[in-house]
């Protein structure tokens, strides 16, 4: 399982990369591996407001359809439209391909998330 330093991780296997007030959100290598080959990503609309823990995206693979939960509250300011035609990018490079960018309401929510080391240990316990 691959993890990357400098990111925040959630218990639902999303990662967050912070860029000022903007949070880029994607799914982890653990998540893409558990889902198997991803065939469809249902992206949110621009401008949608979410609270932390809301479902912002549905990811379908050959095995299952899974909800993704946003780890931070805020407004969707960018969506990665490339995923509409190439959902497999989430399999090929889970950390290179973010799903949405959210303008955070409250960056202190990041304190509820894990760092790389804590996330690694969390995944080992899940196994």
């Amino acid at each position: 399982m691959v993890t990357v330093g400098g990111l925040y991780y959630s218990k639902d296997h999303e990662w967050v990369k912070v860029d000022g007030k903007k949070a880029l959100i994607g799914i982890t290598d653990y998540a893409q591996n558990a889902l198997g080959e991803i065939v469809y990503v249902e992206l949110p609309d621009m401008g949608t407001e979410y609270k932390a823990g809301d479902v912002f995206c549905v990811i379908e693979s050959v095995k299952a359809a899974a909800d993704s939960f946003t780890p931070v509250s805020g407004k969707v300011v960018e969506v990665n439209e490339e995923l509409e035609d190439s959902p497999q990018l989430l399999n090929e490079g889970p950390y290179d391909n973010w799903i949405v960018a959210i303008e955070m309401d409250d960056s202190s929510e990041l304190e509820n998330l894990m760092d790389e080391q804590a996330y690694k240990m969390f995944c080992e316990k899940e196994e």
């Binding site: 065939v39 469809y40 379908e60 050959v62 095995k63 299952a64 359809a65 959902p87 497999q88």
Partner: protein, 485 residues
């Protein structure tokens, strides 16, 4: 003719046909004179032009590729693919049932109404409910109707905050989907390692915004939910109702009743538990049963009896209304009614016992070769977790595909989601010891092949008209209809 792989369109030859109409003696009226312009297509409709013998051979050859309960073992977990006795077909094809018209006057269909009234009573008795609506067309339709009833119940009490339904993460996918269809928000709660409801998670999820909890018992892991009384009490104390997904009812007929466990609403799958045709061979039927306090919300019409006369009762002011054209799938009701009468009370109990025995027998033999994440006595089905000495190389998908080469319909795979590499086996009671042993032996051979020659699994199936389907390509770039090029 295993290789026969044509579409009927590919047989088409211009001008060929399979009918011969008598000479037209009423004259021709152009279509434009009979139908308004917006109903007419401007393009030529492309239909195959084939002879009678073309049609007969084409469909006969295709039908030979079919796999069903009449050709072999079908251990599809959670689907209860039990044999469909032929007496069901005899009864449903009787003239007096098969040729009824839904608009016939009530006086001329008293027998049919009596059958529906009795079936309502029998299903109520089996599940411990007060009344049953036979109308829902399938399991998911039953779920939707049941949830609409739950919604109507809270609404009538003026309890409008209740917008959430709790669903465990081991549930059938239709549960959250049906709740969302009815406009509820879903709260997913976790299962414990042994597949039971996590009581702490449940307690945390309960509030005055919860309309109800959807549960299947036995669970999707094939285990009886031992805390069910406590779960029911907690949900009821919080003001919610309990919904029973009847998919796994085949384990408990005559042994325990959802009504006694505290459930308020249930749907049955006549096409699972009560031996009517399933899936593409359907239609199915998903009757919904409720306790006394919910009877007023059942769909219209209900079948009622006044003296010796049966009638359709539409006079139910709090009913959720009409949910199906006419009265539901009547032919399916006749089959289920026949099954229940043919089996009798003891027979149904015996069926559930043997379904549980068969599952435990298979589980005990297969656990030597396959991972068994929860090793305890199961109910009517059990969930394996891939090969016991498996590497990542051979997956559950490869095992399932290889089973096709051995002549079996594969079990349910990758469900429930909470088990890694899940293989969910449900043998049902209608299979003999010999059939179970043959299937087990095939599974053991596959486990050996995985060690000796994994490539043979990776490339399976070998003996089918079409080899391994590229599921990813099919999902990413679906081609949904034939196109003439």
């Amino acid at each position: 003719m295993r290789g026969y792989n044509k579409l009927i369109f590919e047989l088409s030859k211009e001008g060929r046909n399979a009918f011969s109409l008598p000479e037209n003696d009423v004259g021709r009226t152009p279509l434009e004179d009979m139908l308004p312009a917006h109903l007419l297509t401007k393009e030529e409709v492309e239909l195959p032009e084939v002879s009678e013998v073309d049609v007969v051979r084409h469909y006969t050859l295709l039908s030979k590729k079919n796999y069903g309960l009449d050709t072999g073992f079908y251990p599809l977990g959670s689907c209860t693919m039990k044999y469909n006795p032929k007496i069901n077909e005899d009864m449903s094809s009787l003239d007096c049932f098969a040729n009824l018209h839904p608009y016939q006057p009530e006086d001329t269909v008293q027998g049919a109404l009596a059958l529906m009234y009795d079936l309502d009573y029998m299903l109520s008795e089996i599940s411990g409910m007060s009344r049953v609506s036979l109308q829902p067309a399938a399991g998911a339709h039953g779920e939707m109707v049941g949830l609409m009833i739950i919604k109507a119940y809270h609404k009538k009490r003026g309890d409008n905050k209740r917008t959430k339904i709790i669903v465990p993460d081991s549930a059938h996918g239709t549960n959250p989907a049906s709740a969302a269809m009815v406009g509820f928000d879903i709260i997913e709660i976790k299962s414990t390692k042994d597949g039971a409801v996590d009581m702490e998670d449940l307690k945390a999820a309960l509030s005055d915004e919860v309309a109800g909890l959807m549960l299947t018992n036995p669970s999707t892991l094939g285990l009886f939910e031992k805390n069910i009384k406590e779960i029911a009490d907690l949900v009821h104390e919080a003001g919610g109702l309990l919904y029973y997904d009847g998919a796994n009812m085949n384990a408990i007929m005559g042994i325990s009743r959802p009504g006694d466990m505290g459930f308020d609403v249930i749907h049955y799958n006549l096409h699972k538990t009560f031996s009517t045709p399933h899936g593409g061979g359907g239609p199915g039927a998903g009757p919904v049963g409720v306790k006394e306090h919910l009877v007023e919300f059942l769909p219209v019409p209900m079948i009622e009896k006044s003296g010796d006369r049966y009638f359709l009762d539409y006079d139910k002011p709090y009913s959720i209304g009409k949910i199906k054209s006419f009265y539901g799938h009547f032919g399916v009701m006749v089959r289920a009614y026949t099954y229940i009468l043919a089996m009798g009370a003891e027979g149904l109990k015996d069926a559930s016992r043997k379904a549980v025995l068969n599952a435990n027998y298979m589980m005990a033999r297969l656990k030597e070769y396959y991972k068994l994440p929860i090793d305890e006595i199961c109910q009517h089905e059990f969930v394996l977790g891939g090969l016991k000495d498996g590497t990542d190389e051979v997956t559950t998908l490869d095992i399932a595909k290889r089973l096709i080469d051995y002549g079996y319909h594969p079990p349910t795979i990758y469900f429930p989601l909470i088990v890694h590499e899940a293989i969910m086996v449900e043998p049902t009671e209608t299979e003999s010891r010999e059939t179970l042993d043959e299937f087990i032996d095939a599974m053991i051979r596959i486990a050996e092949e995985a060690k000796e020659n994994p490539q043979v699994l990776k490339e399976a199936p070998h003996n089918t008209p079409v080899r391994r389907i590229d599921e990813v390509l099919a999902a990413r770039k679906p081609v949904l209809k034939w196109q003439n090029d």
